[in-house]
Symmetry: C2
Subunit: 288 residues, 2 copies
Amino acid sequence: MDTIFQTVAIVGPGLVGGSLGMALRRQGLAGRVIGIGRRERSLREALDRGAVDEVTLDPARGVREADLTVLATPIGAFERLLPAVAEGMKRGTLLSEVASAKQGVIRTASGALAHRPDVAFIPTHPMAGSERRGASHAAADMFEGSVCIFTPLEGTPDAALDALRRMWEGVGATVRLMDPADHDRLVARISHLPHLAAAALMDMVTPDEAAFAGGGLTDTTRVASGDPKLWRDICEFNAEQIAFALEAYGARMQSIRALLTEGRYDELEEVLRRAKSKRDELLDNRGN
Amino acid sequence: MDTIFQTVAIVGPGLVGGSLGMALRRQGLAGRVIGIGRRERSLREALDRGAVDEVTLDPARGVREADLTVLATPIGAFERLLPAVAEGMKRGTLLSEVASAKQGVIRTASGALAHRPDVAFIPTHPMAGSERRGASHAAADMFEGSVCIFTPLEGTPDAALDALRRMWEGVGATVRLMDPADHDRLVARISHLPHLAAAALMDMVTPDEAAFAGGGLTDTTRVASGDPKLWRDICEFNAEQIAFALEAYGARMQSIRALLTEGRYDELEEVLRRAKSKRDELLDNRGN
């Protein structure tokens, strides 16, 4: 494919950032990819995986020549990184990020970018990844068949949006535009809530009980192996919507409990049947 | 290995029953395995998989020569099957079952076996399986490294217990004895609750939302693809303990919600950290 960005800087070339770097390089969508990180070891890993062409520990220097800079660190690092990134970026270039909450990130970025109206900031959320971390788990095909949500701000130049869209499509994603608030509500329900639900299930179980657990518990709680600090920050950034989702979920569990205690097993079966058909449909649409 | 039972009858040679048949035959633990079912197609599948040596649609006839009969149908079929099975069994033989709730099954079986004091009834629960059904998914190594819980009744002859224990150990399981009430409480928390929690998560999601779901939701809800009728019956048999587990889970989710709404993110991180370390420990112990 044609090169879309001459130089792309990826701040945090780990699982998602590293996969993006690998995909961009494989597809020829970027002339070169610069990896920016805090630890030499992680950067060496990104180099070894072929996720980046060169690396630096200095954000301001790393973004200096970039036509596109992508923040791919844990969301909790944005506040610390944004001033240096905003300071260092070339005139008229593009800044994006791939965190899983949008309204909080937009608030944080707006402050840091107040003096850089020339920079187009486009928040995105590629709906792909796993509970693993680090470039060693990155994969060039991570985004094949996935959805990447854009939550653009008013006034973002069409040319910038279009370039970023072509980049994500080039690595295999379908781009969907969404209002930041709608995005945050959505991910609270389909991603953040399942994470907390899994963590709570795991946290309830004593070690003695866990010794008996079959595949049901380990599968249901897979996401609970995710990084606690990363998820704490996600929860903090999307606290309001997650609290709503928890409330809805609690009500749903309460009503299931009532079906049990009142012996309404036909209705319970109906809930189970609906859940199964929704999940089966989800897998079908995915070709699994 | 040495043959433990000359003839074993498996009522319902599907995923779990069929896997047991395959393992018994592979290990030479049974002289022959008879599969009893309701549908010719399922029985042919069991034969094709090598799960059984012969099959019959007639329970009373199928168990007539069995030294051990294992009920491996969905729990909801026990009430219908037990009279014919109890009627047909040879004097002094062994009856077992592999359902995932014990107190309800023991109540149901006690009635049907009242006139058969010569038959030793040993409830067991092999903690293995998946959301799939049918002998086509059965595997001879299904029980390797798993735990099989026995909840024996008072007065069960040691020789019967010992034979059944050697059989399960012979197919790779570790046998643990447990009180039926303790068992039901345990599985409510580590198996039945995760099932309902997953179903509720899936049921909450609209089709529009589901289109965006990543691996987190699909993994967390894997068990929700289980058979609705089967799970309805499990819930009915273990309703009381599941209601307790739902209550405890609801309280746990409420307290997590409070951490979010009150901004107590350090405590939230602590919960996430504890859940992760419990899950990582669980996987370590399993050698995954």
